[in-house]
Amino acid sequence: MIHLRYFASLRDATGKSEETLDRNSWTVKELIEWAEENYAGFNNKTILVAVNEEYARSEDIIQDGDVVAFIPPVSGG
């Protein structure tokens, strides 16, 4: 299982702040493709993914139990 977190515009787009998927061994790239198919408002050109609170690369593998956050363009400060 992987735990997904949605923030800001992506929370608005999905209508949820988290959910759990019964998958593992996906790459980050595969997960983003899944999100693009399932939700409007996801754009792999601007969204980053954090796995267990660290930015991950497209080819990184998501393991069972990981917490995965979709990070839209940040605007702190």
Binding site: A8, S9, A50, Y55, R57, I71, P72, V74, G77
Partner: protein, 147 residues
């Protein structure tokens, strides 16, 4: 308070200055980012900030480590507020001490640039006729930066 923190209430600058002050400090710079009423002729009513709190605090601490490495002898503390902020409220405070002033200015400006680049915090602007989540258009793609 923590050296690097996301908080839900008002930010008080003096607290962060006190944190970085020590007998070897000859200079302290602070930066505070405030909610501005007018941007390009559009009036902001208030702002709402959201953060991925544990990751944001880690990333603020990472900025602290980067500063330690680039400006040895400096000491930094950073806090960002989340929730609803009114005009003139402080959204972020950065305090940097260093033996000499040049480092204190440089490290402070470095910190705010890095925050805007990669700390998972989001701002929603609320105007009279709508609202929108902001995203930094100048943001570097993942491949180019050291996120």
């Amino acid at each position: 308070m923590k050296q690097f923190e996301i908080v839900e209430g008002p930010l008080h600058v003096q607290q962060y200055i006190d944190y970085v002050l020590h007998p070897g400090a000859g200079a302290i710079t602070t930066f505070t980012g405030h909610v501005r009423e007018w941007t390009n002729g559009v009036r902001t009513l208030f702002l709402s900030y959201e953060a991925y709190v544990p990751m944001a605090e880690k990333k603020l601490a990472q900025i602290g480590s980067e500063i330690d490495e680039k400006w040895p002898g400096s000491k930094v503390s950073i806090a960002h507020r989340i929730g609803e902020l009114q005009i003139s409220d402080i959204a972020v405070v950065i305090a940097v001490s260093s033996p000499h002033r040049k480092s204190a200015y440089e490290a402070n400006e470095y910190a705010i640039e890095r925050i805007k680049e990669m700390v998972p915090i989001w701002k929603k602007e609320i105007w009279e006729d709508g609202e929108e989540w902001m995203g930094d258009q100048r943001r570097k793609p993942f491949e180019g930066g050291n996120l």
